[in-house]
Subunit: 230 residues, 2 copies
């Protein structure tokens, strides 16, 4: 027995749920009972049960006991796409090219997303990400200068804006939206696609302590797929 107990216990319980020994919606034994059954401390049982509950397989209530979740919500953890890694994962060499970088007043939707005043200016950046010098994705990004003024002096032709921001504001939170659009002329030109081609789009907005940092849209070359595991 070189196995780890709480892990073994968790897997055993998962098995009992999957096989239906513990049916959907059924009440399972209490922690003390399970502890004697598995021959370990209650703490260990607790740890295993909490992991399963965290996974959406169980629902626990004080006094009410633990039940198998009736409408299991399948969850998946996925790493947010970092273009450089996506490119390198396919075995290609990553590079990027800054098309334009200006200081200007953003359009209304960006103003509201970044919590800016109507006359405020922001840093606007257009970049093409390349895989082995072939277009891979086109990026439009707005950066809130009040939050990150130093980006104006960053060497953005060497390091991508994304990686520079990650190092400057390392643990920001944010949201992500996936969608699909037909390529307009600008996108088509940027990634060498045909006008109207279906493009996979990722929009990301990040902030740090309620101050907005940056918002960006990534337009991927046709055929791009995003994988995830349950």
């Amino acid at each position: 027995m070189t196995k780890k107990s709480h892990d073994t216990v968790r897997l055993s319980m998962q098995e009992r749920i999957e096989t239906g020994e513990w049916a959907l919606g059924a009440l399972i034994p209490g922690e003390v009972e399970l502890a004697t059954e598995y021959g370990c401390a209650r703490t260990t049982i607790n740890r295993a049960l909490q992991a399963l509950a965290n996974n959406g397989m169980l629902i626990r209530k004080r006094k009410g006991g633990t039940r198998v979740c009736e409408m299991p919500v399948r969850q998946a953890k996925f790493a947010i796409p970092i273009v450089r890694e996506q490119v390198e994962a396919t075995g290609n060499k990553y590079s990027h090219k800054v098309i334009s970088s200006t200081l200007k007043t953003p359009p209304a939707p960006v103003i509201s997303r970044l919590n800016l005043h109507p006359e405020d200016k922001a840093f606007y950046l257009e970049t093409v990400h390349l895989a082995d010098n072939r277009p891979f994705a086109y990026e439009e990004r707005w950066v809130n200068l009040k939050a990150v003024p130093t980006i104006l002096t960053a060497p953005l032709s060497e390091i991508s804006a994304n990686e520079w921001l990650v190092k400057s504001v390392p643990f920001s939170s944010g949201d992500v939206v996936f969608s699909a659009i037909n390529a307009d002329q600008k996108i088509a030109d940027s990634i060498e696609a045909t006008l109207g081609t279906a493009i996979f789009v990722v929009e990301r907005t990040t902030w740090y302590k309620k101050e907005f940092i940056t918002t960006l849209k990534l337009f991927y070359k046709e055929g791009f797929q995003l994988y995830t595991r349950l």
Copy 2:
């Protein structure tokens, strides 16, 4: 102090990372030292640190100590899309319509994904999901009859295949792929879209103990967005 210690400790540490007190890549104090600093048991510190490491903010090594992750991989947990809930979340009434259901030999890619023999037949289902009786998404699904033979007798006009399968094989694993395609004639007709419109596609394959259950493609009506939080 009605607060939970391990939670408080975790948040405090997160703060120290975000403010840069613990810099990117830096070694942070050991568990025993932190335990005396925070005035709690090492177990509690351990729990907080493990949570942060699990979150991708820390990297821990025995003997090597704990470091702040240099290239933080932002992760997001998201619930896999259940069409009914997506529809109901927008305040609309969900319904669905089975377009066709047949037993036939799948095309090669499905054969290999479901681990079938070339002559095997599988259950093929085409469904349209409706929001207030307007098309919302079109679904093409293959079901492995060797794994779930009873689906042939399921009342699929009343309960969607997805929900029926969830109740029958509740905790299967699987993978998910997101992409974008241009609508072909069949998709365009099914969801009342224009030919060539960019369509958001979700492909999902699930299995149970290495036996493949089902694989499906979901084609969402134009303008659909999948939202997630970091």
